[in-house]
C-alpha cells in the first residue's frame, strides 16, 4: 500500500497570502461561505437512506476493513495489548485468510516501537497520537518532543490535536504555526490533524479549522480524539469532505479524511462510504485517502462478512475480542 505523498506544500498566491498574518488568516476564514446546519443534516439524512446490498455491501465491508486505523488509546495499554492488536490488524479473522489487513494500528507514542516490531514484514502502518493527546494542553516544546519521540521510533503517521482553546480565543495563526512546526518534526511521517469537532461545536467552526489544517500542511484531517462526545458524526464529516473538495479545486492537492470515534457498526461504516463516494468520488475511495479511526467497528464488519459468506449470523464469540 503506497501512501500518496503530496509534494512540499506550495500554495497558489491567493492562498499562500492567507496565513501571512493573524488578521489575514482571520479575514480569509471569515470569507469562507457559511454552513447551514439544517441543510447539512438534511443532506446526510437523505444519503443515509441509500440501500447497500449484496455486491455493494461485500465490497464495502472489505474496503472498510482496509481503511481501519485499529486503535487502542488507554492508560492501561501494555506491550501485550499492542501485540494482540497487531496480530488482529494483520489477520482480522483467524478463520478466513481472505479477509484483508487493516490500514494501520493507532497507539500512544511510547508504544510505537512495540507496534513496529509486531508489524514488521507487513505494509500495515503505525500511527501515533502525539502533541499531548487528547487535550493538547502542554507546551509547544512538549508537543514537538512527543512527536519526534514517535517519529524516531518509526511511526509512519502522526495524529496530532489542535489547540481548541486557541481556536475559541480566535488565535487561528497560533494553531496554523503549531501545525507547521509539528509537520516539520514529522519529516516523512504523514500528518493527520485532529480538529476535535465535538469541542468546536458549530459546522462553521469545523469548516474554518479544516482550512487552517489544510493550509498549514496536513496530509489528513481527522474529526476527533474519541475522548470527547460527540466524536465523529456524518454531518461533520460531510462538512470536512466539502472543505477537502474546495481545497483540491483551489490547489490541486488532495487531503485525506479520517472520521474517528463512535463508528461502531457496518451500517454506520456504509453510510460514511456513501457520503464519501457522493461527495469526493472514487479518487478518495481507498485507504490512502480515507481512514476509519475505530476499534469495535472491525468485529461488526467481520460478523457481517461471515454472515454474507455463510448465510447465517455467527455471533460475537466467532470473532476475537482483541
Amino acid at each position: 500500500m503506497n501512501v500518496l505523498k503530496n509534494d512540499p506544500l506550495v500554495l497558489p498566491p491567493l492562498l499562500s497570502d492567507a496565513a501571512n498574518s493573524e488578521s489575514a488568516l482571520k479575514k480569509f476564514l471569515n470569507g469562507l461561505a457559511g454552513v447551514d446546519k439544517v441543510g447539512v443534516e438534511e443532506r446526510v439524512a437523505k444519503l443515509g437512506t441509500r440501500s447497500i446490498k449484496t455486491t455493494a455491501k461485500a465490497e464495502g465491508i472489505d474496503l472498510a476493513i482496509r481503511m481501519i486505523d485499529l486503535t487502542t488509546l488507554e492508560g492501561m495499554d501494555t506491550k501485550g495489548k499492542i501485540k494482540t492488536l497487531c496480530a488482529k490488524a494483520r489477520r482480522p479473522d483467524p478463520q478466513d485468510p481472505n479477509v484483508p489487513s487493516v490500514a494501520a494500528v493507532c497507539v500512544y507514542s511510547d508504544l510505537v516501537s512495540i507496534a513496529k516490531e509486531n508489524l514488521s514484514g507487513t505494509t500495515i502502518k503505525v500511527a501515533a497520537v502525539a502533541t499531548g493527546f487528547p487535550a493538547g494542553r502542554v507546551s509547544l516544546a512538549a508537543k514537538l518532543q512527543d512527536t519526534s519521540d514517535a517519529v524516531s521510533q518509526g511511526a509512519d503517521e502522526i495524529d496530532m490535536v489542535i489547540d481548541r482553546g486557541a481556536f475559541h480565543e480566535g488565535r487561528f495563526l497560533d494553531i496554523y504555526d503549531q501545525i507547521q512546526s509539528i509537520k516539520q518534526v514529522c519529516k516523512s511521517a504523514h500528518l493527520k490533524v485532529i480538529l476535535e469537532t465535538g469541542e468546536l461545536k458549530t459546522y462553521d467552526n469545523v469548516k474554518k479549522a479544516s482550512w487552517i489544517a489544510m493550509l498549514a500542511g496536513a496530509d489528513f484531517i481527522k474529526t476527533s480524539t474519541g475522548k470527547v462526545q460527540p466524536a465523529a458524526t456524518l454531518p461533520v464529516t460531510l462538512v470536512m469532505l466539502q472543505a477537502i473538495r474546495d481545497f483540491e479545486m483551489a490547489t490541486h492537492r488532495r487531503i485525506g479524511m479520517k472520521p474517528a470515534g463512535g463508528i461502531k457498526t457496518t451500517k454506520d461504516a456504509m453510510k460514511y462510504l456513501v457520503v464519501l463516494k457522493e461527495t469526493l468520488g472514487d479518487k478518495w475511495m481507498n485507504p490512502d485517502m480515507f481512514r476509519f479511526g475505530a476499534s469495535s467497528l472491525l468485529n461488526d464488519l467481520l460478523m457481517q462478512r461471515q454472515k454474507m459468506k455463510n448465510g447465517a449470523y455467527s455471533g460475537p464469540d466467532y470473532v476475537t475480542v482483541d
Binding site: 461561505a33 457559511g34 441543510g39 455493494a56
Partner: protein, 478 residues
C-alpha cells in the same frame, strides 16, 4: 468504479393490483352506467397496470347524488365523531404506507424514496391534522358554529396523486362536507386504493366518492348543478376554463395552478446547502412540482463557482427504476408530458440558451428526461416564462437585491420563491417584496399540514393547509 451500488428494488408483492377497477360511489365499487374504459400504465416501463373507467355524465350524476344524500347525516354528525373517522383513516394510511408508496411509484414514476419518505407520511399527516380540527371549527376564525358548504367537487393532478387527494379530502370532511373526487387520468390507482381504505375505516357511504376519467369527466363534475364547491389543482390553462364555467353560479372555487418560482442565491449564501436546495427545488419529483424552483436567480459574482458545484452535484444524481431505493430521479409521468418538456427545451436551444444535461443512462422503455440546466437565459425566453413541469432549470443572473426581486416578480405566476443568504435581515427584506404565496428561506420544497399553501396571480386563489385551508370548505357561522 468503486463501491457501485447494487440494485435495491422495493418489492411490488405488497400491492394487490386488480385487472380492472370500478367507480367508488355510495361506499361501493360500482360498474359504470355507460362509460368506456382506458388503460393506466407504469410510466417507467409502459406496462399496463389496470383498466380504468372513464366516467360518463350519468356516473357523475350518481356520484353527486350519493354525496348529496350522505351530506345530510355527515354534516349533522358531531365534530368529534367526524374526527374519529379521519383519525382512523390516518392510522390505516400509516399501516398501509408501504403498499401506498409502492403503488404511487408504479403509477406515477416517482422514486420510491420520495413516495416512501415524503408523499405518504405527508398524506397521513394531513389527515391527522384535519382530524384534530373537526371538533374545533369554532376556532377557525369564521365565527361561532361555521357551516359546511355541502358537496365538494375535487379535481386533482398527477404529480402527487395521493398527497393532493389528502389536501382536498381531509379539510372537506373535517368541515362536514361530502366529496366527489376525480384523480388525474394517468394516476388513478392510489385514489382507488384510498377508496378501499374508506371502506376499511367504515366511513359512512357516500361521504367520499371517487370517479375516474379524463378532461371530459372533469367537465361533467365542474358543470354539475348540484355541487356547492369546486377545488382544482392543475394547469393554469384548465384552471382558467374552470373559473369561466363557474362564473355566475353560487359555486365556491379554489384553484391551485402553475408556477415559475425563482430560487434566489445571494453571494453570501451557504454554498453547498444552496446547491443542494437548488437541486431539491427543481429535480424533486422530476420537476413535476407546481412550486418547483424552476428559475435559478444567481448573483453574478458567484455564478461560475456556483454552477461548477451544481454540475458536479448533478453528476451524482441517479436516474432510473423508480422502485430502486437508490433512485433520485424517476420517470416522466406520461408521453405527452415528455413531449411538452422536449418541446420547451428545444425552444430554449433555438432561442439561444445553452443546455447542459447530467450524464445518465436513459432506460430503453418508459418516459425519461435527464436533469438539465439552461444557462445564458433571458427573461424573454419561453423557458424563463412558461412552466416546463419537468427536470429543467433555467439560470438567470442578477447584480443587486433590487434586480433579483424585480426579476423574480416578473412572471404571471406567484406560487413560491426561495431565498438563499446567511444574512437574516436580507431574508426578511426580500421575502417582504416577493409576490408569491410560499417563500422558503435557506430551504425549498418543504411542506407541512399546518402551513397554508397557495398562489398569487395566475398561480390561483384560495389556500390549502392549516387553519386557512378550512375557509375553503366552510361558511361563516351566524
Amino acid at each position: 468504479m468503486v463501491f457501485e451500488y447494487a440494485p435495491a428494488p422495493e418489492s411490488t408483492k405488497i400491492v394487490n393490483l386488480k385487472s380492472n377497477y370500478d367507480l367508488f360511489i355510495g361506499g361501493k365499487f360500482v360498474k359504470s352506467k355507460s362509460g368506456s374504459n382506458y388503460k393506466t400504465i407504469n410510466p417507467a416501463t409502459e406496462e399496463v397496470l389496470a383498466e380504468i373507467i372513464e366516467a360518463s355524465q350519468k356516473d357523475v350524476d350518481e356520484a353527486v347524488k350519493s354525496a348529496r344524500k350522505a351530506f345530510k347525516s355527515w354534516s349533522k354528525l358531531s365534530g368529534s365523531e367526524r374526527g374519529k373517522y379521519l383519525y382512523r383513516i390516518a392510522r390505516i394510511i400509516q399501516e398501509r404506507s408501504r403498499e401506498l408508496a409502492v403503488l404511487e411509484s408504479m403509477n406515477n414514476g416517482k422514486p420510491i424514496r420520495e413516495s416512501r419518505d415524503i408523499d405518504i407520511p405527508l398524506v397521513a399527516a394531513h389527515f391527522f391534522h384535519y382530524a384534530g380540527w373537526a371538533d374545533k371549527l369554532d376556532y377557525a376564525g369564521l365565527g361561532k358554529n361555521p357551516q359546511a358548504l355541502g358537496v365538494a367537487g375535487q379535481i386533482i393532478p398527477w404529480n402527487f396523486p395521493l398527497l393532493m387527494l389528502s389536501w382536498k379530502i381531509a379539510p372537506a370532511l373535517a368541515a362536514g362536507n361530502t366529496v366527489v373526487l376525480k384523480p388525474a387520468e394517468t394516476t388513478p390507482l392510489t385514489a382507488l386504493l384510498f377508496a378501499e381504505i374508506c371502506q376499511q375505516a367504515e366511513l359512512p357511504d357516500g361521504v367520499v366518492n371517487i370517479i375516474t376519467g379524463a378532461g371530459q369527466t372533469g367537465q361533467y363534475l365542474v358543470n354539475h348543478s348540484d355541487i356547492d364547491k369546486l377545488a382544482f389543482t392543475g394547469s393554469t390553462e384548465v384552471g382558467r376554463l374552470i373559473a369561466q364555467s363557474v362564473s355566475g353560479t353560487n359555486k365556491k372555487v379554489t384553484l391551485e395552478l402553475g408556477g415559475k418560482a425563482a430560487n434566489i442565491v445571494f453571494d453570501d449564501a451557504a454554498m453547498d446547502q444552496a446547491v443542494e436546495g437548488v437541486v431539491n427545488g427543481i429535480f424533486f419529483n422530476q420537476g413535476h412540482v407546481c412550486c418547483a424552483g424552476s428559475r435559478l436567480l444567481l448573483q453574478e459574482s458567484i455564478s461560475d463557482d456556483f454552477l461548477n458545484l451544481l454540475y458536479e452535484r448533478m453528476k451524482t444524481l441517479r436516474l432510473g427504476d423508480p422502485l430502486d431505493k437508490n433512485t433520485d430521479v424517476g420517470a416522466i409521468n406520461s408521453a405527452s408530458q415528455l413531449a411538452k418538456i422536449k418541446e420547451l427545451s428545444e425552444s430554449g436551444k433555438s432561442e439561444g440558451a445553452q443546455m447542459w444535461s447530467a450524464p445518465c443512462e436513459i432506460p430503453n422503455k418508459g418516459f425519461w428526461f435527464a436533469p438539465t440546466v439552461f444557462t445564458n437565459v433571458s427573461l424573454s425566453h419561453r423557458i424563463a416564462r412558461e412552466e416546463i413541469f419537468g427536470p429543467v432549470l433555467s439560470v438567470l443572473t442578477f447584480r443587486t437585491p433590487d434586480e433579483a426581486i424585480e426579476k423574480a416578480n416578473n412572471t404571471p405566476f406567484g406560487l413560491s420563491a426561495g431565498i438563499w443568504t446567511e444574512k437574516g435581515s436580507r431574508i426578511l427584506e426580500v421575502a417582504h417584496k416577493l409576490r408569491a404565496g410560499v417563500i422558503w428561506a435557506n430551504t425549498f420544497n418543504k411542506f407541512d399540514p399546518t402551513s397554508p399553501f397557495g398562489g398569487y396571480k395566475e398561480s390561483g386563489y384560495g389556500r390549502e393547509g392549516g387553519r386557512h385551508g378550512l375557509e375553503a370548505y366552510l361558511k361563516a357561522g351566524k
